[in-house]
């Protein structure tokens, strides 16, 4: 589903990812871990093409994306749901509208939007906040809105960047149950996290990054 071959990303002299080669199978759930600044977010950004690599090839769902034409990028991104590390909620729109956006971009019918948005908000425990604006939510509530937006449109890949950084252990476990659930229905999931609890005893693959290099791989 996702294949990196010798991929490197350099920001103005700062190497964020160096010669990374790895694959994620369809329907897999992969964890990425490593110290602060190791390149986890960069790796995810390369998948949804927020940044392009300096070297190497990236294949997503059978399609080469590293040197993709700009006009094909939106279609690629519509296949991917992203939990951004910095949230990226639109402050001028309600929680409902923020989550609905992911479906509107995909031209979903209004009735379907409403049903699916409300159901997803219920899953993350925020149905009662549908009409609030992001500023009126706690940090953890905002993070759950971002998670809802990432999964609401049933993308074939979900990328989650530190999705539980602002969540208490109980809520975090709830979110992980949701991820496991959609994963079991076939969605490929990649989670970048520092939180060992998320992958401990799951038996899932864990990729360790250090200073931009893949430093090892084991099972949680």
């Amino acid at each position: 589903m996702i294949h990196f071959e010798g991929v490197s990303k350099v920001y103005e002299g700062q190497t964020a990812l160096a010669n990374a080669t790895f694959s994620v199978e369809r329907g897999e759930m992969l964890f990425i871990t490593g110290p602060s600044g190791a390149g986890k977010s960069t790796l995810l950004k390369l998948i949804y093409h927020a940044v392009a690599p300096e070297e190497g090839s990236i294949t997503i769902n059978g399609q080469r994306t590293d040197s993709m034409r700009a006009r094909h990028i939106p279609a690629l991104r519509r296949n991917i749901g992203v939990v951004f590390q910095d949230f990226r909620l639109l402050s001028g729109r309600t929680i409902y509208e923020n989550v609905a956006l992911a479906m509107r971009i995909r031209d979903a019918a209004e009735a379907q939007v409403k049903a699916q948005v409300m159901e997803t908000l219920k899953m993350v425990g925020l149905r009662h906040k549908a009409d609030a604006y992001p500023d009126a939510l706690s940090g953890g509530e905002q993070q759950r809105v971002v998670i809802a937006r990432a999964i609401v449109a049933d993308p074939i890949i979900v990328l989650a960047d530190e999705p539980t950084g602002n969540l208490d252990p109980v809520t975090a476990a709830g979110i992980m149950r949701i991820f496991k659930d959609i994963n079991s229905r076939g969605t490929t999931i990649v989670i970048a996290t520092h939180n060992k609890d998320l992958y401990a005893n799951t038996g899932r693959r864990v990729l360790r990054l250090d200073s931009g290099a893949i430093a090892g791989e084991d099972r949680g």
């Binding site: 949804y48 093409h49 927020a50 700009a70 006009r71 990028i73 939106p74 279609a75 690629l76 991104r77 519509r78 296949n79 991917i80 992203v82 951004f84 990226r88 639109l90 001028g92 729109r93 509208e97 956006l101 992911a102 509107r104 971009i105 995909r106 209004e110 937006r149």
Partner: protein, 290 residues
């Protein structure tokens, strides 16, 4: 354009209503100033256009010319494409005119018994031919005609009409040009500055996989609506000032009564505003690259 885009634009306008109102008023002010400028230039121009009406050529006829010859001459001249109007002034008319113009001093003419003044034609030209070179050529043609003694026209007046008209036209065009460019620029930059802070929102929409047009649509609608309402405000202001206020003043200051306000100009303001808002938003957003 889906109902979603429309609702989204309205919500966007409402969420930050004060700053949007400010931008709308900026556009209104810009359009209003342009309107005032257009009206000033239009009026100066229409006054300048009237100047050639006052220009005339006098053709003095030889003494003793027959009535038939006079008539023939008049017909020949009248048929010329230059001529708008030709009128005959007999010897008696000329003396009466002279007496009128002497007013109180007319008694100097009292001792005279045979009229020494010649008969003449007074010719008014079509507007387009009131031009020093053309008039000179035309005058030459007439002078060569049989029965014409002499020809006289205000060469100085003619060249000063010319100079005033071209001066007014040039100044007006420069002023209007500067005004239009300036106001378009200000409107555009108002929209651009307004949308500048949306860069983050645009970035997020792109990362979510939205296409360029999906992202642009609400902004284009917002820009168009602001422009439209700006134009509407300018229209109302223009209507208020020109039709009501000036009409009130013109009773005490008659000159103002001559000020012309073509209503088509005022009526086109909302459309102009809409166009400016729309294109301003379009340019302000620029190319949306993923």
């Amino acid at each position: 354009m889906t109902p979603y885009h429309f609702k989204s634009a309205l919500a966007g306008l409402w969420k930050e209503k004060w700053i949007n109102l400010l931008s709308t008023l900026s556009i209104a002010v810009g359009l209003f100033i342009t309107t005032v400028g257009l009206l000033v230039v239009y009026n100066v121009n229409s006054i300048a256009q009237k100047l050639p009406d006052k220009f005339s050529i006098t053709v003095y006829l030889k003494d003793g010319i027959s009535q038939a010859d006079t008539q023939r001459l008049q017909n020949t001249i009248r048929s010329n494409e230059y001529v708008r109007k030709i009128s005959y002034i007999s010897k008696e008319d000329a003396l009466r005119d002279l007496k009128d113009s002497l007013k109180d001093s007319a008694y100097v003419l009292e001792g005279i018994d045979n009229n020494p003044l010649p008969a003449s034609f007074s010719i008014k030209l079509r507007k387009d031919y009131v031009d020093p070179a053309k008039v000179k050529r035309f005058a030459g043609q007439i002078k060569a005609m049989r029965g014409v003694d002499d020809i006289q026209y205000g060469e100085q007046f003619l060249s000063s009409i010319q100079s005033i008209m071209s001066g007014a036209r040039l100044a007006g065009l420069l002023f209007l040009g500067a005004l239009l460019v300036g106001v378009l620029f200000v409107c555009y930059s108002t929209v651009k500055i307004l949308f500048y802070r949306k860069a983050d929102e645009v970035e997020t929409l792109k990362l979510l996989g939205a296409t360029g047009w999906f992202i642009r649509m609400p902004f284009l609608l917002e820009g168009s609506l602001m422009g439209f309402f700006g134009g509407l405000a300018a229209f109302l202001a223009g209507y208020g000032v020109f039709d009501v206020f000036l009409a009130g003043f013109s009773s005490s200051v008659p000159a103002i009564g001559y000020f012309l306000v073509p209503s088509a100009l005022l009526l086109s303001l909302p459309a102009a505003g809409l166009f400016i808002g729309f294109s301003g938003a379009l340019i302000a957003l620029g190319r949306i690259r993923s």
